[in-house]
């Protein structure tokens, strides 16, 4: 268990291969094995230590397994511990030898010293050898009943280990109910805590095929259990407290008194020195008060100070984790830290990962009242010796400027950066000035005079160069030298390595030409010729396109290349608000650090306790849905994209509201795919803003799963009109499913044709979709299939959620409905049943 086996394969040259040493050890151990001489334990200790040390540095000492076991007949606990460590490490690779150890471990499990009983039991359960599980059940059973809490603590975790080796053995031995009873009655807090973590893990995994486990898992969130834990939270150590707090987050309180009770119980946890306890408590407070706007605001006020204290009291690593959370909070509630901006000033000795987060904080907290101070401070960093931080600081100034506060003062500062004559400062600043001009064209006069005086020779970085060239083209009429600077740059076409810069040169030459044709004509000719001959596909294509459109009609060309522009009012946000909400739901997890929801970086089974997928998570998404349907949709979306007319392009509702859902298309494999596409879009956001609505329209479409594949006429439901293009991401679904009360349960029969068609469960999904009822997850095997559906009212964003379990042998369907609007749930159920009854009908 201990050493990294990888280094066994690649022994570092500086370390001995150990062959001869190991055989030496073998001989020596053998000599000691039978010896009863005084002091033999000391010699054994020395030898064992050598073995363990070889193991740690990666030398394979599995060959002394037999000898180690022979020597283990001892009462010396230090020796025993080393032996257990060794055995645990090599048992898995040597199942035959492991059998040797079972004997002495089982004997030790009955030792009169509880310490030895515990240690032996722990080692026994850590062998991870599947064919030995039968030997575990007995010792575990008595371990759970042991009168010593140390042994019980170990036994509880042992049950979990057994479950991971052989779930059926663990379930058949009835261990989970035993753990539950221990959890509720044991006097030792650590035993209780271990029961909780073991049961959470076991029931989550069991829930996928056992209704009972589902219910048991739910029962952990019942009011009596939650209060049982919360009332005695101080009996637990800080780590177990975190566990309990994570459980409490998932609890759905019955009313506002319930909420206040919990908050009062946990209030003093905010003063804990352990940041993990504080953050877990903060999460409980934030989640509990989500629906109570006023209290939610008070919570922000309350948690501010403790969090700031944690930022400054811990190691830089801990500050980093806390700052990431502050950043999440400040984006949701910018006002909370507005007056505390000085806390986010960088200290000169902080690691760059902390500084970077602080710069992001400063950008986020900037408002009318503090912008001047913040920008002044940021300007100090621009001269910083740490170039990466200097760059970030300049970008931060730019971001603040784009937030519209006190632009006047900021433009001045930015222009001062240009006077610093440091390459990287100039390059970063030019990029910012460009963006600024796109938003505030009124500043062009001030900026252009300064930018015009910059020598393009001093700028090496492509981004900065491209920005300068863009400005030269855009403001050619205001910069007397513009055509000549461009000409100069074009003459050095061959030396320009960045395609981005060459693309910008082409466009700038065109723009300049429209404004000052006589001065630019020659340069444009050279540029187009060079461009057409360019080996880079995009540059080549753009040059050719310009050339042809110029040939066709110069005025048309001007309208295409240099139309009158409107100022950009808001630059595209890189993250949709839905993604942000999702991350907020996963507060106090890695999602906050990576700024991504968990499904983007971790696979399903490891999403941990943060996923609300109590029931949903158990159901895997059908393979058809992930590998077949969605890509087809994707192509179609793309095709459609190309055919979109202008009018449709303007319809950018996809951009603002729906692309977040595109992230969470209900397929794991594809979501990463889509994500990367979305990220590309997001990154190139400002530059290609004209194309963004188009593409996201495509994604939007993608969500109307199956709409275009199955364009069956939507029958008009009698009472309720559903939105055929409804969208809901799985996260939102899960949360709603958790929060909404059950409004209806219905049983109905499914016609035989329908049952026959269910051999391909996908067909039901398509069928329901044609009735504007969308599937979000499905699973199960014959005869039991389970589906989760959602639908939305045509006219308003009111959701219906439904769970549908179909038993093919009894031809019955069980439907559970939850609705935003209780009053219309009957109407929805009728629509649902009608749709279901038509399933399988020709």
């Amino acid at each position: 268990m201990a050493p990294p086996a990888a280094s066994q394969r690649y022994p570092s040259p500086s370390q001995p291969s150990g062959k001869s040493e190991v055989s030496d050890l073998k001989t020596q151990l053998r000599q000691l094995a039978g010896s009863r001489a005084p002091g033999v334990d000391d010699s054994k200790r020395d030898l064992y230590k050598k073995v363990i040390s070889y193991m740690t540095i990666g030398i394979d000492v599995s060959s002394v397994f037999g000898e180690m076991v022979m020597c283990s007949a001892t009462s010396d606990i230090v020796l025993k511990k080393m032996c257990y460590l060794y055995v645990g490490n090599y048992a898995k690779g040597n199942p035959d030898l492991s059998l040797l150890t079972i004997n002495f471990l089982q004997r030790d499990c009955k030792d009169e010293d509880p310490m030895i009983r515990g240690l032996a039991l722990r080692s026994l359960c850590s062998l991870r050898v599947p064919n030995l599980v039968e030997y575990l059940v007995g010792p575990l059973g008595s371990g759970l009943k042991d009168n010593n809490s140390y042994v019980r603590t170990i036994a509880v975790t042992g049950v979990l280990k057994l479950y991971h080796i052989s779930p059926s053995t663990c379930i058949d031995a009835d261990f989970p109910p035993t753990l539950k009873s221990l959890m509720l009655h044991d006097s030792d807090a650590q035993v209780v805590a271990n029961c909780l973590s073991a049961l959470q893990e076991i029931w989550s995994l069991e829930a996928s095929h056992s209704e009972e486990a589902c219910r048991e898992k739910e029962s952990l969130l019942s009011k009596p259990v939650i209060y049982y834990f919360l009332n005695r939270i101080k009996d637990f150590n800080e780590w177990a407290q975190c566990l309990i707090l994570e459980l409490a987050v998932k609890y759905v309180p019955s009313d506002s008194n319930d909420i206040f009770d919990i908050m009062n119980l946990l209030e003093d946890r905010l003063q804990h020195a352990n940041g993990a306890v504080v953050l877990a408590t903060v999460k409980v407070f934030l989640q509990l008060t989500l629906s109570m706007t006023d209290v939610h605001q008070q919570v922000y006020e309350r948690i501010k100070s403790p969090l700031l204290t944690l930022v400054s009291s811990g190691s830089p690593e801990q500050s980093y984790a806390i700052l990431s959370h502050l950043h999440l909070l400040v984006v949701r509630a910018p006002f909370i830290f507005a007056a505390d901006y000085k806390h986010f000033y960088c200290q000169y000795n902080e690691p760059s990962y902390v500084k970077k987060l602080k710069l992001e904080m400063l950008t986020a907290v900037a408002n009318e009242s503090n912008t001047y101070e913040i920008v002044t401070e940021l300007c100090e960093y621009a001269a910083n010796v740490d170039i990466a931080i200097a760059r970030e600081s300049i970008r931060a100034v730019g971001k603040i400027a784009l937030q519209q506060y006190d632009v006047n003062a900021i433009v001045d500062r930015l222009l001062q950066f240009l006077e610093m004559e440091k390459d990287y400062v100039t390059a970063e600043t030019l990029v910012l000035v460009k963006d600024l001009l796109r938003k505030y064209p009124q500043w062009s006069h001030d900026c252009i005079s300064v930018v015009g005086s910059i020598s393009s020779k001093n700028i090496q970085e492509p981004k900065g160069k491209a920005a300068l060239i863009w400005m030269l083209g855009e403001y050619a009429q205001d910069m007397s030298d513009a055509p000549y600077i461009l000409e100069n740059l074009i003459e050095n076409w061959e030396e320009e390595h960045s395609a981005e810069v060459r693309l910008h040169l082409l466009t700038a030459a065109m723009k300049c030409f429209f404004k000052r044709a006589p001065e630019t004509q020659k340069a444009l000719g050279i540029a187009l010729a060079a461009g057409v001959a360019d080996f880079h596909q995009d540059v080549h294509d753009r040059a050719l396109f310009y050339y042809r459109v110029l040939q066709y009609d110069v005025h048309v060309a001007e309208r295409v290349v240099s139309p009158p522009k409107q100022a950009v009012s808001v630059f595209a946000d890189t993250q949709s608000s839905e993604i942000k909400d999702r991350i907020f739901d996963e507060f106090n997890s890695l999602s906050v650090i990576y700024q991504k929801p968990s499904y983007m970086f971790t696979d399903k089974e490891h999403r941990g306790p943060f996923e609300f997928s109590d029931e949903l998570g158990n159901i895997s998404i059908t393979p058809e849905a992930s590998s077949d349907i969605v890509p087809a949709q994707q192509y179609e979306a793309n095709d459609k994209d190309l055919l979109l007319g202008i009018d449709e392009k303007d319809d950018n509702k996809g951009l603002s509201s729906n692309n977040g859902s595109a992230y969470s298309a209900p397929s794991l494999e594809n979501s990463s795919n889509i994500t990367s596409q979305m990220q590309e879009l997001a990154i190139s956001g400002p530059a290609t803003s004209a194309t963004t609505p188009q593409s996201s329209f495509g994604f939007d479409d993608l969500l109307g799963l199956g709409l275009s594949t199955a364009p069956a006429p939507t029958p008009t439901p009698p009472l309720l009109k559903l939105n055929p293009r409804a969208a809901l991401d799985p996260g939102a679904f899960q949360q709603k499913w958790r929060q909404l009360p059950l409004s209806l349960t219905q049983e109905c029969s499914v016609n035989p044709q329908g049952i026959a068609a269910l051999t391909v469960p996908q067909s039901l999904i398509r069928h329901m979709q044609s009735h504007s009822i969308h599937c979000i997850a499905s699973g199960g095997q014959s005869p039991n299939f389970k589906f989760f559906f959602f639908a939305q009212k045509e006219s308003e964003p009111s959701n219906y959620l439904a769970e549908c379990i179909i038993n093919t042998s009894s031809a019955k369907a069980q439907i559970k409905v939850k609705a935003d609007e209780q009053s219309t749930s009957q109407a929805f159920t009728t629509v649902f049943e009608t749709a279901l009854s038509k399933f399988g009908m020709p």
Binding site: A6, K81, A280, E301, P306, A339, Y353, I593, D603
Partner: protein, 451 residues
């Protein structure tokens, strides 16, 4: 909530200890981790952040005394929990080994494994309390001499020159006995304040903050209860007002912005008489962390002047004045200042009769460095540096140099005026009178003067 592996790597990437708790992370994670950290280049940062993800495995690390303490997991865990845990494991190991460094680790790895087995089981944290662990641990630590204490170690502060303190005591293991077999009954309470001050170029204080800790290390037998009384005029929090709106007019009390406490601390009487009561667990732990932005008198005043002296020359004059009483002595003072990157040479001139001072110009980083062994309260010291440039400077030379930063340690001095009024040990016997050490120290965290 669980981790998969824990390991400690040396600065060169060697495994010092390695424990796999759940066997769900592929082999070679130590190499993957080390390569990633060593050659980190992402997002323009030179330094790897403490948390990153490689192929679905999340790596967490903290650096302690130059060693990497690493945990891996595939689960979406609480980042604070894991980082806190790593820090805590380091502390527990230090409690046992007395001194934490690569050498002591290697000599005691069996003991460390023993600890790790009890701290974490199947990836779930069991306990990190030195006190609780004591009953499960049987290996005796092999004590390593604390000859080279890392400066990060809080104990190191007290071994630097302050004669009144038994410097070795804080580096002894919680389980080791003194020579002669008897344990000395003693308890240490350290009030450590790290101060951050930024001065504007005109000498005006832009920001100032104190991050304080009351740290305790107990070697008392029988776990007696302890009462710790703080200033009676101590106030915490400032209502809804921003801390920066505050102007120090409302009396002379000590006002903390906020504080937090160790879980063993009971606050029953804290509101009424500012007394903390606790049964200190074994080992070193922070009783209370606090944060303060109330104005205070900075211990040093720094004055920097850069004058151009011809086209390729300039002169830098740095003056520091100690603004604390003359019975207090600051030690290991370092003053640093980045010089323009076209500086080719710097020659230094110290004041007459200067002793215990060293100057240096670090060619590669263009850094001026001035070390002073000690500075007595009230004293003033000046450094003159003549710079030679390899090219003509243009623009503003002050934009190319600075800021000046200082590090220092001032024992028996605290700027916040927070005090431990008394330390009461509740034990009935009249003959019981253990050693009590209450020590104050002020350290520079980020002490910067812009020019």
């Amino acid at each position: 909530m669980m981790i998969s592996q824990f390991f400690v790597l040396s600065q060169r990437g060697d495994n010092i200890v390695f424990r796999d708790y759940r066997a769900e992370v592929p082999k070679g994670s130590t190499e993957t981790f080390f390569r990633k950290v060593k050659f980190w280049k992402e997002d323009g940062n030179a330094e790897a952040p403490p948390i990153f993800n490689v192929d679905g495995v999340n790596y967490f690390h903290v650096k302690v005394v130059g060693l990497y303490f690493v945990a891996t997991t595939r689960v979406n865990v609480s980042p604070s929990l894991v980082l806190e845990l790593l820090q805590r494991i380091a502390r527990v190991i230090k409690d046992y080994l007395g001194v934490l460094n690569e050498d002591s680790f290697r000599k005691n790895f069996v003991l460390v494994y023993e600890l790790l087995d009890e701290v974490i089981d199947f990836g779930y944290v069991q306990t990190t309390s030195t006190e609780v662990l004591k009953s499960y641990i049987f290996n005796e630590p092999i004590v390593v001499s604390p000859a080279r204490l890392q400066p990060i170690d809080p104990a190191a502060i007290f071994t630097q020159g302050a004669k009144r303190m038994p410097g070795t005591a804080v580096t002894k293991s919680v389980v080791a006995n003194d020579p002669g077999g008897r344990r000395r009954e003693e308890i240490f309470v350290d009030i450590i304040e790290k101060i951050s001050v930024t001065f504007s170029s005109s000498g005006y204080i832009l920001t100032s903050e104190i991050d304080g800790t009351i740290q305790m290390k107990s070697y008392l037998s029988g776990n007696p209860e302890i009462r710790l009384a703080l200033n009676e005029d101590l106030n915490i929090g400032r209502g809804g007002r921003s801390v920066y709106d505050y102007r120090s007019s409302s009396g002379s009390g000590v006002i903390l912005d906020d504080c937090n406490f160790h879980e063993s601390v009971r606050l029953d009487t804290f509101d009424s008489d500012r007394t903390l009561s606790l049964v200190p667990p074994d080992g070193e732990f922070p009783v209370m962390n606090y944060r303060m932005t109330q104005e205070f008198k900075p211990p040093f005043h720094v004055n920097t002047l850069i004058e151009e002296a011809g086209r390729l020359k300039a002169e830098v004059i740095i003056k520091i004045r100690a603004e604390f009483p003359s019975d207090i002595i600051a030690n290991t003072v370092t003053v640093q200042m980045p010089l323009p990157n076209y500086t080719s040479r710097a020659s230094f001139e110290l004041e007459l009769g200067a002793a215990g001072q060293r100057t240096d110009f670090k060619e590669s980083s263009k850094m001026l460095e001035w070390n002073l062994k000690k500075i007595v309260g009230g004293a003033e010291h000046t450094l003159r540096a003549k710079l030679t440039f390899s090219q003509e400077f243009h623009g503003n030379i002050t934009k190319e140099a600075g800021p000046v930063s200082m590090t220092f340690t001032i024992p028996m001095y605290n700027v916040s005026k927070l005090q431990v009024k008394y330390l009461q040990i509740a034990k009935k016997s009249s003959s019981y009178n253990p050693y009590r050490w209450v020590r104050y120290v002020t350290q520079a965290n980020s002490y910067v003067a812009r020019i």
